[in-house]
Amino acid sequence: MSNNLISVNNLKKSFGGLKAVDVQELSFKEGELTSIIGPNGAGKTTFFDLISGFQDADSGSIFLKDKDISNAQPYKIARMGMVRTFQLTKVFDRMTVMENLLFSGSNIKNDSFLRSFIKLNSQKLYESNLREKANEIMNDLNIGHMANSYARELSGGQKKLLELARSIINEPEILLLDEPLAGVNPKLAEDILSLITKLSDSGITILMVEHNIEAVMKISERIVVLAEGSLIADGIPNEIRTDSNVIEAYLGKADE
């Protein structure tokens, strides 16, 4: 088709009478860092749920790398290289930080019952390589000292970092970040932002839902604005800043 990595057509989803997502056409190019913004209830998270397979669309189609993934299972989509995080951080609470990363980094073959029972040397080697990789990522994200703590002992910000670490250990092609800065202190937010920029520079395509407009304006290459499920603006940060539709959606109509 084109150099579009993800493209959606006529994507619709409603809950009862509420129209959550209604997007005519939207596509994302390889390597882009795109932010999706919009007021609360604009359908941003539902949009993520739809393209990552966690919810089925009422109608419309979604293509990932020119493959139709409209009703595909979430784990199959993740295996195609598109990994997401969650608005409410989902870490494996009663597993250690290290185990969180090892689980996420380990491939399905390594996870199999039979291999786990037989315990070949190749599996041990795979695990120790994985452990090294996990250590590297943890140290990069400053959670290395927490490696053997249970994930539920982490602070909110550290959990965000762990979730990020978990998402990148498999070197995904596309990252869907759902509010990576929510509830994070300014210093940590800085770190997370520079990490996101670094990931983007390394060639990963990133879609990010975020409410911190300042941060969004700073790092995004492109901004997509949703309101009441529909696309109302799409462009580079400077265009969006002055777009009358966007200002209206966020602040209400001038004459009201």
């Binding site: 993740a78 969650f86 989902k90 029972f117």
Partner: protein, 354 residues
């Protein structure tokens, strides 16, 4: 970091278990050994079943309230494949598979029953799965009861113990004679504890493996497991099959301990006993249910003696009431004192079901 803590927990569990065994001797000046053998046989069989349940609930977070049916499938399939007599007429069938072949098929059948039950049900979460499993277990039990031509229905199955007892080694007969044991029960008891030994070995191998880690991840958060590209449903089904297979083995042992098999054995109470044992021993642990099971059976079997000693002038009816009161008080006391079970870690207290 935790090695001293673990050994403390382990020592504590050993101590409580030793004390409860001492209680048996204390409360029964005569024939304590025979009571102990009976008790350890049940403890071994139920403990094995609780180890299987722990794979479901402790490892994977599956609320399975139909564990009795897995035990039942294992027991019925194994017995019906061997020479036996079933039903009112009690006609003896002389043809059948040898014990070990029937046992292996029985265990596989229990695991497949887990798969069969799991396929439609396992997408359900938490308490919904609990409702479906408890209903499925009752359906299984009523089906077995009504298929009288095959399963013997309410009349049950008899004449099957010889299939297993003929493998009994001579030394069991020798020392059973000396100690006043029933040699056949001693053989079942030994088989149960050997089964526990190998099951624990198997699970120890799996618990910290990538597979065991994946099950624990499913327990913690299924959505995150999916987002990491893992098939959570398949992992849950595998867990269901493994736990069901272990339950199937314990069901076979239970049948051999009874000498005749009836459907009333697999009533929901059996499931709840197994749950109590798992919780007492420590959810998510491997060896916890072993200790939990011994203590549970001491409590169940010795409370009537205890009640008798406490209230000398009470009649039988009054004692029966007091007895269950004591069961409740003792279990409550243990749970208040060790809320995560004898071997459970506080950090992994798993009773807060989402």
């Amino acid at each position: 970091m935790t090695s001293t803590k673990i050994s403390f927990r382990f020592m504590f569990a050993l101590l409580v278990t030793a004390f409860s065994i001492y209680l048996v001797f204390f409360l029964n000046p005569d024939g304590a050994l025979r009571i102990l053998l009976n008790l350890l046989t049940f403890a071994g069989i139920y403990g094995l079943s609780a180890i299987g349940l722990n794979v479901h609930f402790g490892w994977t977070g599956l609320l399975n309230f139909g564990h009795a049916s897995f035990m039942g499938v294992g027991a019925y399939v194994t017995l019906l494949l061997m020479p036996h007599a079933a039903g009112r007429e009690g006609e003896v069938t002389t043809t059948g598979l040898p014990f070990f072949a029937a046992l292996i098929i029985g265990i596989i059948a229990a695991a497949l029953f887990g798969l069969l039950l799991g396929l439609p049900a396992i997408r359900l979460r938490g308490d919904y799965l609990a409702i479906v499993t408890i209903a499925a277990a009752e359906i299984f039990r009523l089906l077995v009861r009504d298929l009288e031509s095959i399963t013997g229905g309410v009349y049950g199955i008899i004449n099957y113990t010889e299939n297993f007892q003929k493998y009994r080694p001579l030394f069991i007969d020798n020392f059973s004679g000396n100690l006043g044991f029933s040699p056949s029960q001693a053989w079942v008891c030994l088989a149960a504890w050997v089964s526990i030994f190998f099951t624990v070995l198997l699970l120890k191998r799996l618990t910290n493996s990538p597979w065991g880690r994946a099950l624990r991840a499913v327990r913690e958060d299924e959505d995150a497991v999916r987002a990491m590209g893992k098939n959570a449903v398949w992992l849950k089904l595998q867990s269901f099959m493994l736990g069901a297979g272990i339950a199937g083995l314990s069901g076979v042992l239970l049948a051999f301990n009874y000498g005749s098999l009836e459907t009333t054995v697999f009533i929901p109470l059996l499931t709840f006993y197994v749950w109590a044992i798992m919780i007492l021993g420590g959810v998510g642990t491997i060896t916890g249910p072993i200790f939990g099971s011994i203590i549970f059976w001491v409590i169940i079997s010795e409370t009537d003696r205890l009640a008798y000693l406490l209230f000398e002038n009470a009649n039988g009816q009054q004692l029966a009431g007091v007895r269950f009161l004591l069961v409740g008080v003792l279990i409550m006391f243990l749970m208040i004192f060790r809320p995560s079970g004898l071997l459970g870690k506080k950090e992994e207290l798993l009773l807060d079901v989402k």
